[in-house]
């Protein structure tokens, strides 16, 4: 029998490289770990359970259910545990008395605020029974917010319903003043905010203008 075709030799050609590879892998692990380990710790690399979705150039950390940055569905708004994607449209926000009628998006990041008013992602959603914190730019969507008065109504229309709130007061506070809003409230309420800037001023200010509104009623649009 030809030595070349000897089954024992053929097995050796398969087994030995596998054995060498396994042993080398073990040695490499033992030898390289102490060198690479500290760098890996410094970099603190983390891996996600799925490929990330980027909205407006930033990773969306709230990757649940809806994976497109379209409009939030009524089923998503009904589910108190579900969170929309950043930049996703939640509905429309209007204050008829001061002619504010703007798209309402999820997230008050810089990009979302160029498209409309944005719900701070750490706050609640309409109908969720929590504080809803909504930001908007003074030069665009909330240009007339300062004209809104106590008693005026704020309406949020979403796919799941129409939510009415009534303005109870306003306040000027520093941008870093966290006492200006209570995100842990057990009752649904709406807080709108924008930059506090006069017409003679140009540039960024450190003051914010807050409008507080209490929940009045809601109408479901679901059949």
């Amino acid at each position: 029998m030809n030595r070349n075709s000897n089954p024992k030799n053929i097995i050796k050609f398969i087994l030995l490289p596998v054995l060498f590879c396994t042993l080398a892998l073990g040695i490499a692990y033992v030898a390289v770990k102490p060198i690479v380990g500290p760098y890996a710790k410094v970099l603190n690399v983390t891996f996600l359970s799925q490929k990330p979705v980027f909205v407006n150039g930033t990773m969306n950390i709230y990757q649940q259910k809806n994976n497109s940055a379209g409009t939030v569905s009524s089923s998503l708004l009904d589910d108190s545990t579900a969170i929309p994607l950043l930049g996703q449209s939640v509905g429309m926000l209007s204050i008829p008395s001061v002619k504010i009628d703007t798209p309402l998006l999820y997230g008050d990041d810089t990009k979302s605020l160029t498209k409309g008013a944005g719900i701070y992602s750490g706050s609640g959603l309409p109908g969720g029974g929590r504080t809803i914190l909504v930001g908007g730019h003074i030069d665009t969507v909330f240009a007339s917010l300062k004209q809104a008065k106590t008693g005026d109504q704020v309406i949020i229309k979403t796919n799941s319903g129409k939510y009415r709130y009534q303005i109870t007061g306003t306040k000027i506070a520093d941008a870093t003043d966290k006492s200006a809003y209570n995100l842990l409230s057990s009752q649904e309420n709406l807080i709108l905010y924008t930059c506090e800037r006069s017409n003679q001023l140009v540039g960024l200010t450190s003051k914010r203008y807050f409008v507080y509104a209490k929940y009045l009623s809601s109408e479901s649009t679901k059949k």
């Binding site: 080398a24 996600l48 930033t58 030069d139 540039g203």
Partner: protein, 297 residues
């Protein structure tokens, strides 16, 4: 040669073959790292491939436009505060900062230029440069600078790790690669001395295919696991750069595996050729029960 000495020669050959396999792996890894992580041009190439500057420019300009909506500046003015050319130049400086210990981007100069542009714009629109306005524009310029710095710069721990690793690794890998080459030559020489050509090829095939298996299997495993795409990086420019950078490293590992595969094929062809020669010839040197021309007892 006695059976005992033949056995010990076989054991030594297997050991030498394994050492050769290890050396080939070390040599290949040294070559891959020299061509990728330690190569400044490789980094710059991946920045171009990932459209790093375009993504950064778009992301930063969007933020500037948003700040402008809160500060009383129009979209065009805000977009003109940053150009793609500036981002490209700064990205190059960041890479040079890692590899050549050069200076990083001058963010103070960037803030000053924004301050100047915004002040000119405000003046042209009839705003008085009161202390309050100057402060508000200063705040806008500072916010723009922070935003730009956060987005264009690579993560500080990454830059710091690379800056400390690159000079050391350059020396170690150069020596390691050279050392591996010398030792590969020694191992091959010893294997050649221990055996006739047929067995020599056989042991070389074990070594080269073992190294090939590790490189191809390891790279393929990382690629198929999809871990690279699931890396947790928040900003899109950095995420794309990292994913393309790591994919390119895997590609280099596959090129190295292809070289080893080619060597394995050549060795296999030579081995088969020798075997055929051996069976067709009635060479008493290689007759059954004969080793190195001596009858085995």
């Amino acid at each position: 040669m006695s059976v005992t000495s033949k056995r010990s020669s076989q054991v030594i050959s297997y050991l030498l073959s394994f050492i050769l396999c290890l050396l080939l792996i070390v040599g290949s890894l040294c070559a891959i790292l020299q061509a990728t992580v330690l190569n400044e041009n490789f980094f710059k190439q991946q920045m171009r491939r990932s459209n790093y500057s375009t993504l950064v420019t778009s992301l930063v300009q969007d933020r500037f436009v948003s700040y402008g909506m809160a500060a009383g500046f129009d979209q065009e003015t805000c977009k003109s505060l940053l150009t793609k050319e500036q981002v490209e130049a700064d990205a190059q400086k960041i890479v040079q900062f890692i590899y050549e210990s050069g200076k990083g981007p001058d963010y103070d100069a960037f803030q000053k230029s924004i301050m100047q542009k915004l002040t000119e714009n405000a003046k042209s629109r009839g705003f008085q440069m009161t202390a309050e306005n100057t402060k508000a524009i200063q705040r806008m310029a500072e916010t723009c600078r922070i935003s730009y710095q956060q987005i264009v710069a690579l993560p500080a721990p990454f830059v710091s790790a690379l800056r400390s690793l690159v000079p050391k690794a350059k020396r170690v890998l150069l020596l390691g690669g050279f050392g591996a080459l010398v030792m590969i030559a020694v191992a091959v020489f010893l294997l050649k001395r221990l055996h006739h050509m047929r067995s020599f090829y056989r042991f070389c095939i074990y070594a080269v295919s073992g190294a090939l298996l590790l490189l191809a299997g390891g790279s393929g495993g990382i690629l198929l696991s999809g871990k690279i795409e699931r890396i947790g990086i928040v900003l899109q420019p950095q995420y794309k750069l990292t994913v393309i950078y790591l994919h390119q490293m895997i590609f280099y590992a596959f090129i190295m595996a292809a070289v080893l595969a080619a060597v394995t094929v050549v060795l296999a062809v030579l081995y088969v050729h020798r075997c055929k020669q051996h069976t067709s010839s009635a060479d008493p040197q290689h007759a059954k029960g004969v080793y190195a021309g001596k009858l085995l007892k």
